[in-house]
Symmetry: C2
Subunit: 439 residues, 2 copies
């Protein structure tokens, strides 16, 4: 058996996912619309041999209170198809994963854009299928209220069938281009999909040649029951956000188990939890960096996040004291317990707790490169994950730290590639190229 290696994606927002990051010393507060910065990030990640550059996407302003919104750089940024296509022109190996919604877009458009990106990038495109959880998006697409959760996932499943069917419109060898005879393609190798389903009706064929990868890599990030089922049936990569190894292992076992039930090889899906990585020369230094970053989240915007996590209005608590005793409510048992545990473990004041929740509260690896590599190998060998979708706390420094310090440590331990062994995103993830349904 070959040793297991990590797959690493970069979970990108131009300034960072952390809402205080634009104020961190050395950061680029204007990165949301500064293409030059993003190019430098993508090129560094490629030099470090990352599997993929992953771009999240939202179809409305993030639904947070104005107090928080106006203080956060997460309000706006580039649209993924345009951004990743531009990055495709300036990179040559790293995968490019765009988020596209099955609730608010059309399969013919989605199929074309991913096929086109796959051609432009010579086989590096991936599609993060989302059903869009922000209810405000509905208001930007002609609706008065969000589409119901179940219906969103039914449409998502059908949408996937249509998009992959459209990618198969032309056989891989349909284009003969025989100058002598004048035959440009073989019509027997072109297929109309003629899909008519409950949600979608699409004739085809797609007016694009089959993508170099056959199909761009299918990525999924939903975590509800139907989200996991969709992943088990269709996904080749799953982005998720377990908070600790125990819940990571449970999710991992659940999704891979579902795959076996639908007859898929569990190796053909890679599970990558989002991991916030803060590196220091010592554990103390790494923690201090994180504390400084958290302290840059404005208290007025942070307190709302803490209140939500607690299920209790925290705005009257003394910010500079430890969390007072608060009554248990039924609504928020897990959230509340998590907060209490965190407050105790790290001895945080109300202010620090609030800033943690207002900044970034998911799975975090904070420490020296060696400590973080130890954690990563633990997740990998305990079957908590097949790698990680790295979240940079601040950019460019947090990215440089990963690229210059963590990656070499992982490479020394043979946990990460020292060069790409192939050229496509499928190659990087070790995924098979799908056969056409007409083959």
């Amino acid at each position: 058996m070959i040793e297991r290696q990590l797959h690493l994606g970069a979970f990108m927002r131009p300034v960072s996912l952390h809402t205080g990051a634009w104020r961190y010393p050395g950061s680029y507060p204007d990165a949301n619309f500064n293409f030059t910065h993003i190019v430098s990030f993508a090129q560094k990640l490629e030099a470090a041999k990352f599997d993929a550059f992953f771009m999240a996407d939202h179809l409305a302003l993030l639904n947070m209170p104005e107090e928080a919104l106006k203080r956060s750089h997460t309000v706006t940024s580039f649209e993924p198809f345009t951004l990743l296509s531009a990055l495709a022109a300036l990179t040559s190996r790293i995968g490019l994963v765009a988020t596209a919604s099955t609730t608010f877009d059309e399969p013919y458009h989605v199929a074309r854009r991913f096929a086109s990106l796959d051609h432009i990038s010579a086989g590096r495109a991936g599609w993060n299928i989302v059903t869009t959880s922000n209810p405000d998006a509905a208001l930007n697409f002609g609706l008065d209220a969000h589409v119901a959760h179940g219906e969103r996932y039914e449409r998502a499943r059908e949408f996937y069938d249509v998009v992959t069917g459209l990618w198969d419109s032309f056989d891989d060898d349909a284009f003969i281009r025989d100058v002598e005879s004048g035959a440009f393609f073989d019509p027997a190798k072109m297929h109309a999909l003629n899909h008519k389903g409950p949600e979608l009706s699409v004739r085809g064929p797609l007016n694009i040649a089959r993508p170099p990868q056959g199909w761009p890599v299918i990525v999924q990030a939903g975590q509800s029951e139907p989200g996991r089922q969709l992943a088990a049936e269709t996904a080749e990569v799953v982005f998720c956000s377990p908070r600790d190894l125990a819940s990571g292992k449970a999710l991992y076992a659940d999704i891979k188990g579902r795959m076996s039930k639908v007859g898929r090889d569990p190796d053909h899906l890679k599970i990558l939890p989002a991991a916030f990585v803060v590196i220091g020369d010592t554990l103390e230094e790494a923690r201090a960096k994180r504390a400084h970053l958290d302290s840059l989240v404005h208290y007025d915007s942070a307190i709302a996040s803490l209140s939500i996590a607690l299920g209790h209005d925290a705005s009257n608590f003394d910010p500079d004291q430890p969390l007072p005793n608060i009554p248990e409510t039924n609504a928020s048992k897990t959230g509340r317990e998590q907060v209490l545990r965190l407050a105790e473990q790290e001895r945080l004041t109300v202010r620090q707790l609030a800033q943690r929740y207002g900044g970034y509260s998911g799975l975090a690896f904070v420490g020296t490169p060696q400590q973080i590599a130890d954690k990563m190998v633990e997740w990998l060998y305990e079957k908590g994950s097949d790698g990680f979708n790295v979240v940079f706390p601040y950019l460019p420094q947090g990215l440089d730290d990963v690229v210059e310090r963590l990656i070499p440590e992982l490479q020394r331990r043979r946990l990460f590639r020292t060069d790409y062994s192939g050229t496509t995103l499928r190659d990087h993830f070790g995924l098979p190229r799908p056969k056409s349904r007409y083959a």
Copy 2:
């Protein structure tokens, strides 16, 4: 008064619009999905100081009989947003005009993608608004039949209002990014559109900063009565396809006249007819090149086009004889007369006529660089146009001929810029930057 100068767009299909071009000696039959070729075209056009690279788009296979389809390279190519974004990364001045349909897309998506392309390209994006004439597109977007022409244009007009409104979501100076105080943007400078109209309902705001150009340049290519009216009310560039100077002048006067009626300055719209340009050392050589190109259109696919133009089945005529006398029908008077005139002027056989119609039958300038420059200046000074959207007969040679031979001739005559005087597409066209509706 400054002297009038031509504006030049490149009306691109990767292999050419001419259906025989992929068989022309030296052409790139695989250019539809060969990004490297297209990059070289865009970079040459930029070196020649073209105003814009214009990418047509279709949302279904072109609706031609299979006999013609299978012999034409026009069946497929890159999708415009992905292609032009990738080209944005490898060019720095040339404008990038993408076609997007108001009938089969959503204004929130269209607004975002153009805004994003405008940010990535630092102000070089343009939107060719089309209502999509190919009825087959409807079948790829959940419909059984095409949306009626009038309704398409009503939606287009409303769609334009919504998209431009979304571009104004943030004032130009909304983003303060004050690291000290923690204010990222000023909420008073963010505007929700709250549009509710007969066709569209969109709340906003757009989650993208106002584009560098304020609004990307608005382009329009419809020629029907409502198409011209839409252009007069909204467009800043019109692509059109008059066949001769007389009809060019009529269209020019009509659209600029309509602008005055709606209170717009006629100088704020540039009219660019599509012009097929074939260059030779002599007129004879240019004609021979064109005849050779036409001869590469397969007769079986060409004859259908001729029959349509004549309004008469031409498949039983002797291909190598002149056109026989055919009875006049009411249905196709103009078409028929045009064909007869052409057959007589150029003394074409049935085969040659068919191949002309099956290849490219629009306005053509065929001759030496001097002769073509003479024609162009005539159109410019007779108010037939403000420039041209150049159609290359075959690539790369036809493009190289224009860039290396026609452009220098136009520059010598001071009819075309020798360098860009600004950086944005608006700068190239001399168009004002629109004020925000909230200013």
